[in-house]
């Protein structure tokens, strides 16, 4: 599927690379013992180290190192046993030390791959350039006062993983799929909660365009800190169009940093980033090179959970699901677990239909989460069992499902209470059939004279008369015999 933008001069291709800042799940900060919880009172989660006080020194949090390695392994990436922390020097009000401790020439994780799950069920590989550990900056609030900005350092020093993709994406949809997949992997690994609204996952988009067939890349612009998948897609679409318009009017694109205005759906130049930067990276002399033993990495590797790609493969293999169904079910680990509980030992296709169909719809309607579902996996499984052993029909099952939503009761109880048990007593059904045939003697005559289509009519009447409880297969069989 190729995404091309039509311009005045021909078709254009968009080239996208994403830099994702993912907040590491840890109790304390990367280089200090202050807490990392979201939403605390300003400057309450700040140690003298985070405030850049004189003489304060960084000491690295081992869990953050493990999380970075775990993420690297999850991205099928090379782990660098020796990496180096460097200072990135620049001045900003929410950067207390005047430098950010980051990794530059020697990141902890090298090249890796992410497989995108595309809507048609196909996959596409996007390269990971690197992953490195770095400190987050604080937060500036600009709307508190007419002439002042307010600085909160709670976030200052929180561990981030900067995950840089190769410029491998060619459409806003691919960028969206990349973010969703990356978020899914991070959540499976438990290394980042992926919450874009709270800023624990932020995305910088590098966008350029080129005429179809042109080799090499043109000047790119970086759109900073876009905070939802939808906005990333919108920002890329807008920015690509802007580049094409500039080129087609004979202009040139300046490499610059831009902001996405989600209210207007536009990107604009960032005034505070006007100066050309010279970050003067150099190895942080307060720290030594980070050296990992092969055992350290091997232990983390041994503890990795099953990741979405492997789970998808397994679901397709074990449950005979389509790539699309499997992809939908594994995107979220809790959903995949829910599905597995439902499907284990049952008809997997039926389980998949129920989970992705009625259950997802009910989940959406209820506004609840998969962790706190409106119907438990055990009960949904029980419902499928009732269908499978012919206790109820598929149609009645829908009714039972609605009652399960309303009452929270197990399906068997509902079936029992409401007397919805399917009638499989041949005699009883024959009785109903006899009544129906007697009441519709004219239709019976027409049927016998060759109007075969009326068979469906008789089935409907019998089901109706049994209030849906008659076993449809039996009804068919007995009707055929009676009508001879």
């Amino acid at each position: 599927m190729s995404y091309l933008i039509q311009g005045e001069t021909g078709d254009w291709e968009v080239v996208i690379g994403l830099e994702v800042h993912a907040q590491v799940i840890s109790k304390a900060k990367l280089f200090s013992g202050a807490a990392t919880d979201f939403g605390a009172e300003p400057n309450t989660q700040v140690s003298p180290v985070d405030a850049g006080m004189p003489g304060m020194l960084p000491v690295i949090n081992e869990t953050c190192v493990e999380q970075a390695v775990r993420t690297g392994l999850g991205l099928k990436a090379a782990i660098n046993l020796t990496s180096v922390f460097a200072r990135k020097n620049y001045f900003y009000a929410d950067l207390p030390q005047g430098y950010q401790i980051s990794q530059y020439e020697a990141p902890i994780v090298g090249e890796g791959t992410i497989l995108l799950d595309l809507p048609d069920g196909s996959t596409r590989a996007v390269g990971i350039e690197r992953l490195h550990l770095e400190q987050d900056a604080g937060k500036s609030l600009h709307d508190q006062h007419p002439s002042k900005s307010y600085i909160d350092l709670n976030r200052s020093g929180v561990a981030l993983m900067e995950i840089v993709s190769k410029p491998d994406m060619r459409s806003p949809e691919e960028a969206g799929a990349y973010l969703k997949k990356l978020r899914s992997i991070l959540r499976y690994l438990g290394t980042c909660d992926g919450n874009m609204e709270e800023g624990s996952m932020r995305c910088d988009c590098n966008v350029s365009v080129r005429p179809v067939g042109e080799a090499g890349y043109r000047t790119r612009c970086e759109i900073k800190n876009v905070n939802s998948v939808r906005f990333v897609m919108q920002a890329i679409e807008y920015e690509a169009r802007r580049h094409i318009d500039v080129y087609e009017e004979g202009g040139t694109i300046q490499q610059e940093t831009r902001l996405f205005d989600s209210a207007k759906g536009e990107t604009r130049s960032m005034r505070s980033k006007e100066h050309a930067h010279d970050y003067r990276y150099f190895p942080d002399p307060d720290l030594l090179p980070l050296v990992l033993s092969p055992d350290f990495v091997a232990n983390i590797e041994a503890s990795l959970p099953e990741l979405p790609d492997e789970k998808k493969e397994r679901f397709m293999r074990d449950f005979a699901l389509s790539p699309y169904d499997a992809g939908v079910l594994v995107a979220d680990k809790a959903t995949a677990d829910f599905f597995e509980t439902v499907a284990r030992g049952r008809d997997a296709k039926m389980a998949a239909n129920w989970v992705t169909g009625d259950f997802f719809a009910a989940l959406n309607r209820s506004g609840r989460s998969i962790e706190d579902p409106p119907v438990t996996a055990a009960n949904l499984g029980g419902l499928i069992d009732l269908i499978a052993d012919n206790t109820i029909s598929g149609r009645i099952a829908k009714e039972v499902f609605e009652l399960m939503l309303e009452t929270g009761k197990p399906p068997a109880v509902i079936v029992e209470e409401k007397g919805l048990k399917q009638v499989t007593d041949t005699g009883a059904i024959e009785g109903v059939i006899d009544t129906v045939l007697a009441q519709n003697a004219d239709k019976v005559a027409e049927y016998k004279s060759g109007k075969d289509k009326l068979f469906g009519f008789f089935v409907g009447q019998v089901m109706k008369a049994s209030q849906g409880k008659a076993n449809p297969a039996l009804v068919n069989e007995l009707l055929k015999a009676k009508l001879g």
Binding site: S26, K27, A28, S32, G33, A34, A35, E41, P42, N43, T44, Q45, V46, S47, P48, V49, D50, A51, V59, I60, N61, E62, T63, C64, V65, V84, F91, A93, S140, L141, H142, Q144, H145, P146, S147, K148, S149, Y150, I151, D152, L153, L259, M270, R271, S272, H275, D278, R280, P283, P285, L287, L288, P289, L290, V291
Partner: protein, 95 residues
């Protein structure tokens, strides 16, 4: 390498130190002298020599992931030239 006034202005800007125009000449001279002095190093062949990363032949120590600091806003803000409502204040930044 001799530094010209424009270069001195650029690095002073990178270092966020205001330098008056009339200081530039003198400063450029001083800094150039220092650079001439340190440029002796170019006469040493350092091919194949690893740059030193630390004199301490140690492993980077790692701490456990435990909250052991913070929750001391009064102390953090006590020296601030300007603070309000738990925040540090700076001249307004336009993004």
């Amino acid at each position: 390498m001799s530094l010209d006034k424009a270069t001195v202005r650029t690095i002073a800007n990178l270092a966020r130190i205001e330098v008056r125009d009339e200081e530039l000449d003198h400063l450029a001279g001083e800094l150039s002298n220092i650079l001439h002095f340190v440029e002796q190093l170019s006469e040493v062949n350092t091919d194949g020599v690893e740059p030193m990363t630390s004199v301490a032949a140690l492993e980077l120590p790692r701490r456990a992931d435990v909250v052991s600091d913070g929750n001391c806003r009064e102390r953090i803000l006590a020296n601030a030239p300007e603070a309000d409502d738990g925040f540090f204040l700076v001249p307004k930044v336009v993004e």
